[in-house]
Amino acid sequence: MEIDPFIFRLSIFILSIFIGYYVVWSVTPSLHTPLMSVTNAISSVIIVGAIIAALAGTPGDIFDVSSIFGYIAIILAAINIFGGFLVTQRMLQMYKKKKDKKK
């Protein structure tokens, strides 16, 4: 009997939870805010679903209902991707070490 591909995806999912668990515990507490903004940005990879939905319209009707939902989802996810990564970058730029000029 063959294994259902769902089981493989479930395995990936559960192993990723473990990876997430260990990786996030090693994040320094002072970077918890950038952590939230960057996780926010990467979870917007949901845009791949939005793109598939948007491109699924037939050539005669590129704006059928399901594509419209796709287009809106693209805008929402794109705000998050650009906004999330850029604001993270802006925050990380601010974290500086003590300058050596001190005696």
Binding site: R9, I12, S16, I17, G20, Y21, V23, V24, W25, S26, V27, P29, S30, L31, H32, T33, P34, L35, S37, V38, T39, N40, I42, S43, V45, I46, V48, G49, A50, I51, A53, L55, A56, P59, I62, S66, S67, F69, G70, A73, I74, I75, L76, A77, A78, I79, N80, F82, G83, G84, F85, L86, V87, T88, M91, L92, Q93, M94, Y95, K96
Partner: protein, 467 residues
């Protein structure tokens, strides 16, 4: 058009890049590089998606246009937003992820052929379950984040909104969601799908309104986690590895942050979710204490004098500093102190502010080097050896009651041992209790000098007096 196997490999690559992005955050030095990994992962995922569909008709140009519109909006927000508004920005972003998940699920439900999930009215059972979970969690994330956003922005009152039968209603709606998913699988009816989405929106609202302002660090982390699980649900539907990996990462990240925040407040996750904390504070005990106990209050001159004669000062910032935007004035003050060879460090409680790490970002913005900023465990022993603790905008996190009075609502919460300093300067607008609704014993200690003023104004005045 590229093969499904080929694109699956690339989705895996982008998933790994996302893991590296989070890994980078283990230290500020590697964090910027980590962010680039994240961006690279995102670009790969998007390009592979375009290539795997291979549909370069007119709709593609619309996709690109909408992508750029959203991107421009996002970039604009990212550059304009003040750092003090970070909590509401993150809440707002979470709501967008949630809504995007709902819309993708709706699109997949209406046009399952495009996603290889079967046909309208005959969607594969597993896919149907996955997309309805994704839609439900996404909808809860969306409406919950909107409420959190409104509370953080001050548009909606931060005090908990409770009514009788609230928990029962939530329970009922929660069961309702599962029942609807069950019937949806049996009937494939579009109406049930819409009702499911609507009820989930409602649950999100009901879930967040009873939670008070200072529990927001937990709420934001929790919604962060939800947005991850929603993404993972959609990832299963689309059979997309990048989404599944990312969803799991984000979901566990948010869950860990919620756990850290709960622990820092010595509250159980369940009690935060049930909400209502700080709603009915014991007003009587507060009043008579305020009337009886003497308080020493001082002005900027006294504070400047005390600090000038100290050899070490620990700064304890809190949400009040963010509200008053006092971080830059504070930095100026610290610079002056350092010129007088006074050792200055910062002590940050995990729940200071309205989101995890909020204070660290504000101090970083004011050019405070991150190696002068310490977490609670690392600095708590230093208070006993320091001359002055300068508490600016923090309150409950310094209350010694948490260590002494088992009846106190915050008993057992880890607090900063500020009272062990030789003297304590406490900048605050009035004697009003903090969010927990309890009086801070620290106000009445002999070695405490209260500085009644707006945090920014007081700090600026101290700076003048330091010359």
């Amino acid at each position: 058009m590229i093969s499904a196997n080929f694109s699956a490999v690339f989705y895996l690559v982008s998933g790994i890049l996302f893991i590296l992005a989070l890994r980078g955050l283990s230290s500020p030095d590697t964090s910027r590089q980590g962010n680039y990994f994240g961006i690279a992962g995102m670009i790969i995922a998007i390009i592979v998606t375009f290539l795997s569909i291979g549909n370069f008709s007119t709709s593609l140009s619309y996709v690109i246009i909408f992508l750029l519109i959203g991107g421009a909006l996002g970039a604009f927000i990212a550059f304009k937003i003040p750092m003090t508004a970070m909590p509401e920005l993150v809440a707002g972003f979470h709501s967008l992820v949630g809504l995007a998940a709902v819309f993708v699920a709706i699109a997949a439900f209406l046009n399952p052929e495009a996603f290889n999930l079967g046909f309208v009215g005959d969607i594969k059972l597993a896919s149907l379950i996955e997309m309805s979970i994704g839609a439900a969690v996404g909808a809860i994330t969306f409406s919950g984040s909107i409420i959190a956003f409104l509370k953080l922005r001050g548009i909606m009152s931060g005090s908990p909104i409770t009514f009788s039968g609230q928990h029962f209603l939530n329970l009922l709606l929660g069961i309702g969601i599962f029942a609807l998913i069950f019937y949806l699988c049996k009937t494939q009816s579009a109406n049930i799908f819409w009702i499911l989405v609507l009820i989930s929106f409602l649950v999100g609202i009901l879930l967040i309104i009873p939670i008070g302002g200072a529990d927001m660090p937990v709420v934001i982390s929790m919604l962060n986690s939800y947005s991850g699980w929603a993404a993972a649900g959609i990832g299963f539907t689309l059979e997309n590895t990048a989404l599944i990996i990312t969803g799991a990462l984000v979901g566990s990240s948010g869950a860990i942050l919620s756990y850290i925040m709960c622990k820092a407040m010595n509250r159980s996750f369940v009690s935060v979710i049930l909400g209502g904390f700080g709603a009915d504070n014991s007003a009587e005990s507060k009043k008579d204490k305020q009337d009886q106990k003497p308080v020493k209050s001082g002005n900027a001159e006294d504070a400047a004098f005390l600090m000038k004669n100290a050899s070490s000062v620990i700064i304890v910032p809190g949400y009040g500093m963010a509200v008053a935007q006092a971080q830059h004035a504070l930095r100026e003050m610290v610079d002056k102190l350092k010129k007088n060879d006074i050792k200055v460090t910062y002590a940050i409680h995990p729940v200071a502010g309205r989101m995890p790490g909020h204070m660290n970002v504000l101090l970083a913005e004011a050019n405070v080097p991150y190696d002068e900023v310490f977490e609670l465990e690392d600095i708590n022993n230093d208070f006993a050896n320091s001359d002055v603790a300068f508490v600016i905008g923090a309150n409950d996190v310094t209350n010694p009651v948490a260590k002494t009075d088992p009846k106190s609502p915050i008993f057992g919460m880890p607090v900063l041992d500020v009272e062990k300093c030789k003297s304590v300067l406490f900048v605050k607008r009035s004697l009003s209790p903090g969010y927990a609704g309890i009086d801070n014993e620290l106000f009445y200690k002999d070695n405490t000098l209260m500085l009644f003023a707006d945090a920014k104004k007081m700090t600026e005045d101290i700076v003048k007096n330091l010359d």
